[in-house]
Subunit: 384 residues, 2 copies
Amino acid sequence: MPVLYPPGTIGIIGGGQLGRMMIYRSKKLGFRFAVLDSEDAPAKSLSDIFINGSLKDPDALEKLAGVSDIMTYEIEHINIDALGNLESRGYRMYPCASVLGIIQDKGFQKELFVKKGIPTSSYFTCDKPESFDFSANKFPLVQKTRRGGYDGRGVRVLKNKEDAPMNSPSIFEEMIDINKELAVMVARAQDGSVAAFPVTEMAFNPDHNICDTVIAPARIDEKTASCAHEIAISVVEALDGVGIFGVELFLDNHGNILVNEVAPRPHNSGHYTMEACVTCQFEQHIRSIAGLPLGDTSLIRPAVMLNILGQKQSRGKMLIEGFEKALNVPGLSLHLYGKIESRPYRKMGHFTVTSGTLNEAIEKSEYIRNLLKIGGENTEGDSK
Amino acid sequence: MPVLYPPGTIGIIGGGQLGRMMIYRSKKLGFRFAVLDSEDAPAKSLSDIFINGSLKDPDALEKLAGVSDIMTYEIEHINIDALGNLESRGYRMYPCASVLGIIQDKGFQKELFVKKGIPTSSYFTCDKPESFDFSANKFPLVQKTRRGGYDGRGVRVLKNKEDAPMNSPSIFEEMIDINKELAVMVARAQDGSVAAFPVTEMAFNPDHNICDTVIAPARIDEKTASCAHEIAISVVEALDGVGIFGVELFLDNHGNILVNEVAPRPHNSGHYTMEACVTCQFEQHIRSIAGLPLGDTSLIRPAVMLNILGQKQSRGKMLIEGFEKALNVPGLSLHLYGKIESRPYRKMGHFTVTSGTLNEAIEKSEYIRNLLKIGGENTEGDSK
C-alpha cells in the first residue's frame, strides 16, 4: 500500500468532535483535511476543504472522495453501500467498508467474535422481538438493537418476561456480572503491525448510560492487563482493520475478560492519550491510514478523563460555569468542542487531568467535575 | 480586565507557523481564530475567519480588529502605528503596542534593560555606522541593526576596524565570551502573575546563524537555572508585558547571565513544550491574553527540538526524505508547517524527541537529523 506524503489530502466523513480533534492533533504531520458534514460541524473551521452535506448522501460522499487521496470516518452511522461503491471504483478508505459493515451490525460483530474464538457474552439474535416468546429465557437479558445504537441509545435491560423489548432486530445477551468496564485503543497499520495503548477503566453514568469517566491506567493487575491487550488486538486482527479501534471489554467478577463491542475510529476512552501518551489516538489513526509507522503508545503520566455533558435542565446558546477555576488546576487540559448550542446530555467537551499519581489525578478530576458546568441559556422544567 | 470566554474570537496578526501552531494547540479551549496574512499562509486553513492582506496595511489590520474580541501577533515586524491607533480606539491587543514598540528596536530594548538593572552586555548605539570612527573601539564588536533583524539577519561581527559595518542604525555590543546560549519562555497574565517554563539550551548553526537545536532542560546547575529564571521574569515585568515572551540569554564563561534579546510571542526555543510540558507555550499565550489563569509549566520528560530548514541547494515544491524512517523512532513528534515551497534555509518544520533521559533524546535527535531532509524539487548549483 502506498504511503501518503504531506501535503496529501485526507477526507473525513463526519466533522464532529472526533474529526475536530483528529485535525488539530495531526495537522502537525503536514496533511490537508477535507471534511463532509453539515455547516455547524465542530471540525469545519479546521478543514482545508469543507463539503456541506449529509453523511448518507452518495453524491456528497463522491464529492469528498474526489478531493481526497484517502478517506476515513469519525462516526459509524454512514451509508455503507455508497462507501462500498466508492471503494470498488478505486477510492481508498480506512477502515474499509467491509469492516464498517460488520461493526454497524451488532449481530455480525458477535458472530465474528464467536467464529474467531474471541471471548464474549453468550447471546441470541431475534429480528422480531415484539412477537418472540421469552418464556424459556433466563433473565435479566440485555437487549441491543443490531443497528444504530450509540451512547446508550439502543440498549435496554429486560429484568423479566413482563418487560417489553424494543421492536427492532436485536441481539439479546446474558447479563454479565461486571467488575469493571475496560477499554483498549488498538491501532493497526497497513502492513499488519499493531500497537495498543494502555488499558483504561470506564465508568458510565447510570442517569444516561454515557461514558462519564475514563481512568488510565486501569486499576487491574498485570496479568489482566496483558490479557485485555491480547483480546483487544485479536479483535482488530479478526476484523482485518486498518486504523484505530476502540475495543470495549467487560471484566467480570470471576476475572474473565469478554469483548463488549468495538468502534472503528478514535474513541472517547482514548481521549486521555492526548495528554498522557507519547503519541495520541488521533495522530495514531492518521499514521495508520496514511501507511506510516505507528507511534509510541507509552503512557507518560496517569490520567483521568471526564466528559462534559450539557446540563439536563437547559438548552440553547452555550454557557460555561467555572471556566477560570477549572483552568487554575495544575495538570488540567480542557477540550471544548465548539458546539454553539447546549442540549441535555450533549457532549460539549471533556477534560483530562494528568498528575504524578493516579490518586491525585482522580481527586483533581472530582474537584473539577463539581465546578465546571456547561448548559444552555434557556432553563427548562424537569419535564423538558 | 475582562475574561474572554469561548467561543470568543482571537485575531492573530500573521499566519506563519507560529500562528498555525497557536491555533492547533489551543483550539481545544473553544475559541474562534481570525488570521490576517497572505493567501499561502500556513495558518490559513485552521482559521475561522481569514483576511488576505499585508501585516503592514492599516485597513487590513482594522478589518481584523473588527472581527476579533482580542488581538495578538505572531511576528514582530508589523505596523506599530496602526496598532497604536487601534488600541487608542478601544481595541484590545496583547502584548500591547507599546511593548512591541520597545521590542522592535534593539536600542530601546537595551535601554530598558540598563534602566531596570537587568544584566546585558555593554553597548553603544550609532545611527550612521558608515561614517562612525571605530578607531577607539575594542574589537571584536557585534553589530545588530536596531530594527528588522530576524533569524540571524541584521547581525554582523566586526573583527577589527577594517571590517565594514552595515549601513543602518545599529547597536554595537561587546563580544561575550559565550559558554552557552539559554532561553526561557515566560508568560505573564493580565493580573501580573507569571509562569516560566524550564530553561533551555540553544545551539545555532554557524552556516546561517538560525537556531538549530534546543535542549530541554539546559545542562546547567540549579543555581544558574534559578538565576536565568529570575532574570527572564524581570525582563517581562520590566516590559509590563501580557502574553508569552521568549527571553534569550547568554551564559558566559565566568558564570554570568546576560540578556540578549526578547521576543513578544511564542518562540522557536519553546516548541519543545508541546511534547515535554504539561501546558505548551501556545496554549499558555492564549490563556494569558484571554485573561485566564496560567497553566502548569512543569517539564514531564526531557526533550530535544531540531529545526528542519529547506536544503540549501534546492528550491520549489517541497519534497521530504526520510519521512517514514523518522516517524519510526519512538518518542519522535514531527511538525511540518504546511509550506508548499522549499527554499534554502526556510523553516519548513521541526521535530521534538522526548525520551526517558536527555542523552537518549539527544542521540535519537542526531539520528533523525541525518535522515530527515526537506528540499525543493529543483536542484540548484552552489551559486544559487
